[in-house]
Assembly symmetry: C2
Homo-oligomer: 219 residues x 2
Amino acid sequence: MISLAEENYLKAIYSLNQIQQGGASTNAVAEKLDTKASSVTDMLKKLSEKKLVNYTKYQPASLTNRGMAIAIDVIRKHRLWEFFLVEKLKFKWDEVHEIAEQLEHIRSSALVDRLDSFLEYPKFDPHGDPIPDKEGRINKIHDTVLSALPIGEEAHIVGVKEHSNSFLQYLDAVKLVLGTRVKLINRFEFDQSAIVQIAGKENITISFDISKNLYIKFI
Amino acid sequence: MISLAEENYLKAIYSLNQIQQGGASTNAVAEKLDTKASSVTDMLKKLSEKKLVNYTKYQPASLTNRGMAIAIDVIRKHRLWEFFLVEKLKFKWDEVHEIAEQLEHIRSSALVDRLDSFLEYPKFDPHGDPIPDKEGRINKIHDTVLSALPIGEEAHIVGVKEHSNSFLQYLDAVKLVLGTRVKLINRFEFDQSAIVQIAGKENITISFDISKNLYIKFI
DNA sequence: TAAAATTTTTAGAGTTGCCTAAAAATGATT
DNA sequence: AATCATTTTTAGGCAACTCTAAAAATTTTA
């Protein structure tokens, strides 16, 4: 039996190993879960005994196959619930994370299966993150960002790399939401800020920080 | 902040005070929550300090207004989720209790409001139990049971008093589901078993134990 | 109404998951 | 390579919730 706390640790270790930068060090996990390093050490020992993580003292942790399967299952539930909240209950994309953090821990495989079917097997959540299927297969995450779009080229916004509410709210305000078509008008060498045309209409200037956190797909 | 365990105690005390028989004694609560009497005593003290239950040693507990409001809120969530599971996800009425026991603890009033709206403000859950509204107003529970239906009279099944899976599965098997029209053909004095006509069609014999656990509404 | 049976409470302890403070190991710097 | 800074672990403890065993109160029964 996996506790709620354990599930959160597995999820944190998973996501820290997805992004580059050093993997799931004790401190990184502590920061991600807003807890103390000593608590993380305790839990890593426990998860290691349970054969859910690979852990040797003073080394970053990684997931075993069993741990990976559980983490992916939790992520599947999180993203399906997010999709439900936005598509069916009409929440905005910056309102769903916290609620999905709770819903992802509901234990019932029948529930997840039926939810998946009710939602007609969505492939991506409201932030563009891929939803793992029943067998844990997961589409590769998008890897091209808007900051890599050459001048004059067009693309669609397909995901966000940063999930903070303030970022999502900014995107809403400037209409840079998922599915939007963008064209790169110009980019300034000085600070890598860029002028983009949104949906064939108005031009806006966005900072490098914005454009490097938006996943795109070339048209 | 109310913990999950506290919510379960409040719900148990609420339901024990709804039915007759002695109210929420320490042992009754312990049995309901499948725990030990000593644990209940501890928790009653704690809830009493938090002014959520009225408790004096060696006496059955009851809910304060605040405790009542919380209990009703949890029940509202439970029944809304049950409705969702049956109506939208196509679960059967004997499959939803355990899942709703988990979902009822999700904390987000926005979620409950939007779920309620998505479901179009249902008044009764899949077992015929009334769903409290946002303000905690709750329809009176049905009070007439099939065992009180006079011979020759007709009624609709509107709820179940007993919620065990085996009972619900029995009802499915003999088609005594919610909304079914029944006519009382005969009742035997010996054991109070009865012959009922189901939906104007076949007659079946049901025991007293069945008929006293089915709520009806006269036609 | 006194003894017996039952219910309830108290006392002490275990588990999980977290904390602080201090010690130990690692890594960076000169 | 020795010192300094950072990271990680250890040690000891706390809060929530549970348990068992024993004591105390209440209720039942004779």
